[in-house]
Amino acid sequence: MSTTTTERGTGRPARQRGDVVFAGVAKGAGVLILLALAGVTFFLTFEGIPGLTGDDSVYSGKDGFLSYVWPLVYGTVLAALIALLIATPLAIGVALVTSHYAPARLARPVAYTIDLLAAIPSVVYGLWGINFLAPRLVPGYQFLQEHVSWLPFFAGPTATTGRTILTAGIVLAVMILPIITAISREVFLQTPKLHEEAALALGATRWEMIRTAVFPHARSGIVSAVMLGLGRALGETMAVAMVLSATGVVTFNLISSVNPSTIAANIALQFPESSGERVNVLIATGLVLFVVTFAVNFAARSIVARGQIKG
């Protein structure tokens, strides 16, 4: 039972009591992580359920949980979509710079610089957004209102502070840019060299090589990168809470001072001053956010995992 012996033929080292304990501890740590994940679901559900069927007074003027959470879900998705629309083309461009365009000597520092964007705390993005970015966007919004106000998105009237959902979307775009860039860059770099050289040898220009060799290879990677960015944008809290001047309406208007809030920002703004059933309502909205982001991340990682098995 102790010391050496037995399993010599299997190619494994001798098995000791210490071995059993150590393996058990390692496995226990893994199981603990799974338990923590289950715990998140359990405790949020447990504390959130009383918030689903509360008195009308706890829903700040709305009748029932659904009509309370619906504008928040709308705002969350809207802000995330704006962020994706802005960030995705930029991120693919930046990823191409670091994988195919920049000289080899520059590529690493460039990639590192973009990674720095991910290291900046979200509260600093919030400060920057509300103090620096928002006032500077107001002239742009006024221009949009004057010239394209026939589009429902730019109907105005322009918010004089610039704290609109479009501003929030722009800040979110900056925040999710690094993650989309990092993953796209990785899949771009994995393109088989032979495919690229074959395309170039056939006389393709660099762009034609990228379109015919790199993009088809990287498609699933880009999709999952965008979905991971989406998950990040859906759950981002502080930047939105600080930048957005929210009133909890559902509107297509992107540049007015009347904006839908997002789930995460709403929790951050309301929670410190809440007690009793209001807390349960907020936890229930948090559960909704958790389920949505979990589903998005789950799907994104599944695509990544499938891609790895394939090739």
């Binding site: 494994r12 461009g93 509260v123 400060l127 034609e208 759950g235």
Partner: protein, 366 residues
């Protein structure tokens, strides 16, 4: 796909008169300095036009960007051919996207430095906000809180994360648990930080009663965000350890657990330290969970486990800006100072991680 690659240069080779047999093998090309020339021209033109018409800096920069893309494409179209022009267009767009991505980084760094640097006085680091109205005050309580809560999170996350990585690399193999664990750890990296805060609150509310605020709750919330990052980086590093080293150790009769502790982990230690430092840097700047479970206070609290709120740097920044007090300017100035200190801490951790990774990592054996 192949049709996009075929050239359209010699479609009428056989219909040409027999006298002219030479097909040009080279096409006129723009000189190597063409993109730079186009850029210089665009910047100069936009600058002159902007100054004449009295535009702002943003308008000039936008116009120069558009003009640059149009100029290089048009020039290429005139001298080269349509395909080359498209290539030039995409090259210009790709570099433009990179330039746009740099704008927020530069402007953010500049703003925080310009507004934060004047705040960094001695009093700012040694004082607290206790009984401070208006000018003065400091962030000592917030720095203490951030250090303690982050330390608590690291103490929880590192053993759990490292042991999980050991399980995945050394024991798990291809078992169902290992595969699910790998997958769910990846999914966990995407948990919104505010959900982690709500989880810690829901858990502590059951134990300590409603309205609980506690520093250790912040540690729990942060460790939920930190563990997946630690697992990922440790797993990667442990996999890099060559199998030869393990087998050499086994051959000497060393049991597996001692091999892991004495050979595998020490070999990959530099990488593990790098990964853990990056994970700490990531959670040190988290605001939302601490806003919920750690709360806010004006005085120093050294006890993670006391049933009282604990201030942290991100939360301090948030409240100083959004609830600055009566002369709003002082509170907002403190917010910028705290933001700068926070960025400095996070950047220092990042640089330290890179340094450790580059300096102490074992040279590639393969």
């Amino acid at each position: 796909m192949t049709d996009q690659l075929t050239t359209t240069e010699s479609p009428s080779l056989d219909s040409e008169p027999p006298v002219q047999l030479t097909v040009p093998l080279s096409h006129p090309r723009l000189p190597r300095w063409a993109p730079l020339a186009a850029l210089a021209f665009s910047v100069a033109a936009a600058g002159v036009l902007g100054i004449l018409l009295g535009w702002g800096l943003v308008a000039i920069a936008s116009f120069a960007t558009v003009l640059n893309v149009v100029a290089i494409t048009g020039w290429s179209r005139a001298v080269e051919n349509a395909r080359a022009a498209k290539d030039r267009l995409m090259t210009a767009l790709v570099w433009t996207s990179f330039a746009i991505a740099l704008v927020p980084l530069l402007s953010l760094t500049w703003t925080v430095l310009a507004k934060g640097l004047p705040q960094l006085t001695g009093e700012f680091f040694t004082g607290t906000m206790r009984n401070v109205i208006g000018e003065g005050g400091g962030i000592q309580h917030a720095i203490v809180g951030t250090l303690l809560i982050t330390l608590g999170a690291a103490v929880i996350s590192v053993p759990v994360g490292l042991m999980t990585a050991v399980y995945l690399v050394e024991y798990g193999g291809d078992s169902r648990l290992a595969r699910w664990l790998t997958f769910l750890v990846d999914v966990m990296t995407g948990i919104p930080s505010i959900v982690a805060g709500l989880f810690a609150y829901a858990l502590f509310q059951l134990i300590f009663g409603p309205g609980i605020r506690m520093g250790f709750g912040g540690s729990i919330a942060l460790s939920l965000l930190m563990i997946p990052v630690v697992v990922r980086s440790c797993e990667e590093m442990l996999r890099l350890v060559p199998a030869d080293l393990r087998e050499a150790s086994y051959a000497l009769g060393v049991p597996k657990w001692r091999t892991i502790l004495r050979v595998v982990i020490p070999t990959s230690l530099a990488g593990i330290v790098t990964g853990v430092t990056l994970a700490v840097a990531r959670v040190a700047g988290e605001t939302a969970p601490l806003l919920i479970i750690a709360g806010k206070t004006d005085s120093v609290s050294w006890n993670l486990f006391s049933d009282a709120p604990m201030m942290t740097l991100p939360v301090f920044t948030y409240y100083s800006y959004t609830q600055p007090g009566i002369p709003a300017s002082f509170g907002q100035e403190r917010a910028w100072g705290a933001a700068l200190v926070l960025i400095l801490i996070v950047m220092a951790l990042n640089l330290l991680a890179r340094y450790v990774g580059a300096r102490f990592s074992p040279k590639k054996a393969r």
